[in-house]
């Protein structure tokens, strides 16, 4: 940049610095545009002149390092390659060892090198944000990170979970001695993920920020820093993960819920055995995720009537469940609305004005320095609170429906002869392959 005479700079408004030689033209265009815009601070005067140094001292110009990011193409290419390779490894090679190897690669690159951002789990929020129309831009990389694992799931099952997701990979590697959590408990805890998804979506729609990123327990490890609580939560999840394999994926992950739904309809999902099942029951012990449905050869086929009755009862009860849940969500609005920073700020300001709390906080101090009046803040908070009634009700409906769907699924009796895979719950971890005697020995 050419140096201008010191006192010709008479605009104190914010101007872009030259970022990169190649981008200088672009920057110039942006600056030109800025000048065309209605002047924000153009009336401000440049009020400082440097001292007249009698020596030939030259001031040290500000040095700002270049703005550069890892090229997004690299991320996308690696994501696609890892997804494809995992699908091949799970479906064709049927190799647990390869799945683990790929997990290490994903953990190293997406986890430790890229420091956990951007990840598909969080991208869900960016996509929603773009739909809600908050003005946030959805870049192509993020859109691709959201889409590719879902499309892969539509054809190959949850290969993304198997060894591409850095969060999953970290837990998979820790799960050295997995046990089976009793099915009812597992199913009940699994509903938490639906709640998390619902709340995260509500968080975006109501402009409360990115809750999934906020409460990501592993990102702190990738970045070697973070809040104490989140690091502790991550540590606990990983340690218990030695036995309860992948607690985050099963009981929390909101993106996992989407993958679960889609994976049910997957085209080429992995099968336990490549050939004829010999009913050896060995695989029953193998799956830590309760994703293997055992055959029930002994059970006598239920009468049509009994089945119809049960279905009828469920159908009768489900609107009630949904309605109840909606009611609970509606009445939970005072709690839910506290997710929004404006509501929290308004509550705090009100408490301070009323003298209920002795001191001020950083937020209330900043608020008082700003332009907004307390009255308009309260009005804003009240309007938000009212909106949270509807948001809470919608959340309740969603959770009610999820519970009913789960009940329907559990009530449908299966009469499979063989051990089959629950495509929704299966994470394609490839453990069961090792237990199947029909399996061809793994190639070295």
């Amino acid at each position: 940049m050419t140096r201008r005479p010191a006192n010709t700079v008479n605009v104190a408004c914010v101007l872009p610095g030259s970022a990169h030689p190649r981008l200088t033209v672009c920057v110039a265009a942006v600056s030109a545009l800025l000048f065309l815009l209605p002047p924000l601070a153009a009336t401000a005067e440049f009020r400082f002149s440097m001292p007249e140094f009698s020596t030939d001292y030259e001031h040290e110009p500000m040095f700002l390092p270049p703005a550069a990011l890892t090229p997004p193409r690299l991320d996308i290419t690696l994501l696609a390659a890892l997804l494809g390779f995992t699908a091949y490894v799970v479906l064709r090679r049927r190799s647990r060892r390869w799945v683990l190897t790929l997990s290490f690669v994903a953990l190293a690159y997406f986890g430790f090198y890229r420091q956990g951002c951007v990840c598909s789990v969080g991208s869900l929020q960016n996509v929603l944000n773009a739909y809600v129309g908050t003005g946030e831009i959805l870049p192509l990389v993020v859109a691709v990170f959201f889409l590719l694992p879902l499309i892969a799931a539509l054809y190959f099952g949850r290969v993304f979970c198997a060894s591409v997701c850095p969060l999953g990979a970290a837990q998979e590697i820790c799960a050295v001695h997995p046990v089976q959590v009793p099915k009812p408990v597992d199913a009940a805890l699994g509903m938490l993920a639906y709640a998390y998804l619902g709340i995260a979506v509500m968080g975006i729609v109501m402009d409360c920020g990115f809750l999934i990123c906020r409460y990501d327990p592993f990102v702190g490890f990738f970045r070697r820093g973070g809040s104490f609580n989140m690091l502790l939560a991550g540590g606990i999840i990983l340690t218990t993960g030695i036995f309860i394999a992948r607690p985050y994926c099963r009981y929390f992950c909101p993106y996992g819920v989407l993958l679960r739904w889609i994976s049910i309809f997957s085209r080429y999902h992995a099968a336990i055995t490549p050939g004829e099942c010999v009913q050896c029951r060995l695989c029953e012990e193998a799956c830590p995720y309760n994703a293997i449905i055992p055959p029930e050869p002994g059970a006598a086929p239920e009468s049509r009537h009994a089945g119809a009755m049960r279905l009828g009862k469920l159908l009768a009860v489900s609107p009630l469940v949904v309605l109840c849940a909606a009611g609970i969500g509606w009445s939970a609005h005072p709690t839910l609305s506290r997710m929004h920073p404006t509501v929290r700020l308004a509550e705090r300001i009100a408490a301070e004005e009323a003298g209920r709390v002795p001191d001020t906080t950083i937020e209330t101090d900043a608020f008082r320095e700003g332009d907004q009046t307390a009255a308009s803040l309260y009005a804003e908070a009240r309007a938000l609170d009212a909106r949270f009634k509807y948001a809470g009700a919608a959340l309740g409906v969603f959770l009610g429906l999820a519970v009913c769907a789960r009940l329907f699924r559990l009530s449908v009796l299966r009469h499979a002869r063989d051990y089959t895979i629950d495509k929704g719950a299966c994470l394609s971890c490839a453990r069961c392959f090792k237990y199947c005697p029909v399996e061809a020995p793994e190639k070295p």
Binding site: S49, N229, I236, I237, I244, F252, E369, G370
Partner: protein, 329 residues
């Protein structure tokens, strides 16, 4: 063999603990070591406040910047495009349109009004007609203060950190503040556009040296007669890196000084002992927000003392003239 319920309990436990940790997670707040706080120095003892605001006059003026009192006791306030003349009670006597934006103003004993524009002085008749526009100064110039006695007009130029001594015809005789490090002459250290001159009751010229946090006394020929530098954050000192920002003298020789950073107006007796506070930060900071006035480092645009020894404070953000009187105990 471990029974199943143990694993069920473990799964429930890990989920509950994680949820509890999520919910109770609140980011670490910066400790006192990381936060800049001068509130203890902003507090003023009630007994230190020796003045009372007796009058507040709202001004119909864009960018009010300069305050002066003429021989009749009338108050002159100059702002962008206009010059207001008020009587002692704040009543408007006259409003004169002027061109440009003055930053400082003075009235000579003969009634001529001198307005300091950014880079030149304009001399006006008491009726507001421009008599003469003096020579333009260089590009760096930014006139921030002006005073006049029978023979001279003293002009402070913050951009060049110089005080110019003119005669009434606009001829420049002396430049005060030339630097000569070999002779130990620092000149003025003026980091921002706050640089003031004032005449005390004996007619001597005082100029602020903001970078030195004090005042210096000069002869018309530029000779330094004395200096009074008071760096420090205590109430009887000048805080920060550039204070005081405005000065004026009372008839008994007491010094009235306005500061920025900690926005207040104080009085020092003729012997320069601390006498008291005219306007505490609480009073000056009320009713406006810094965010709306990004260019103002202090709400006080100028101060003056009138013939009755009242302290006049020109409050920029409130666009008001605040008049303070001494509390007689």
């Amino acid at each position: 063999m471990v029974p199943d319920w143990v694993w069920a309990a473990l799964a429930i436990a890990v989920v509950s603990v994680a949820l509890a940790l999520f919910v109770t997670d609140s980011p670490e707040r910066p400790g006192d070591a990381l936060v800049y706080d001068v509130s203890e120095y902003e507090a003023v003892d009630a007994e230190d406040i020796r003045y009372r605001e007796t009058l507040r006059v709202a001004l119909e003026l864009e960018n009010p910047a300069a305050l002066a009192v003429d021989n009749n006791g009338h108050i002159l306030i100059a702002g962008e495009g206009a010059l207001l003349v008020l009587d002692e009670a704040g009543g408007e006597l006259a409003r004169r349109e002027i061109e440009g934006r003055p930053y400082c103003a003075a009235v000579a004993p003969d009634g001529v009004i001198y307005l300091g524009m950014r880079d030149h002085v304009a001399a006006c008749s008491p009726e507001g007609d421009v008599l003469a526009a003096w020579d333009m100064l260089n590009e760096r110039a930014w006139l921030t203060s002006i005073v006049a006695d029978e023979n001279h007009v003293f002009v402070a130029d913050s951009g060049n950190a110089r005080v110019y001594v003119y005669d009434h015809s606009g001829t420049r005789h002396t430049v005060i503040g030339e630097r000569d490090p070999e002779q130990g002459l620092h000149g003025f250290v003026v980091p921002s556009h706050y640089f003031e001159v004032a005449l005390d009751t004996t007619g001597a010229l005082w100029a602020t040296n903001p970078g030195k946090l004090g005042l210096e006394k000069y002869r018309e020929d530029g000779a330094l007669l004395g200096a009074w530098h008071q760096p420090g954050f205590d109430i009887d000192k000048f805080p920060g890196c550039c204070n005081p920002v405005h000065i004026a003298f009372k008839s008994d020789g007491a010094l009235v000084a306005a500061e920025k950073g900690i926005n207040r107006v104080k009085v020092f007796a003729a012997d320069r002992s601390f006498e008291g506070v005219v306007a505490a930060p609480e009073l000056l900071n009320a009713g406006w927000k810094t965010a709306d006035f990004p260019d103002d480092m202090t709400p006080v645009r100028d101060i003056a003392v009138d013939g009755n020894d009242r302290v006049l404070v020109l409050h920029g953000p409130l666009r008001s003239l605040l008049i303070f009187e001494h509390i007689n105990k």
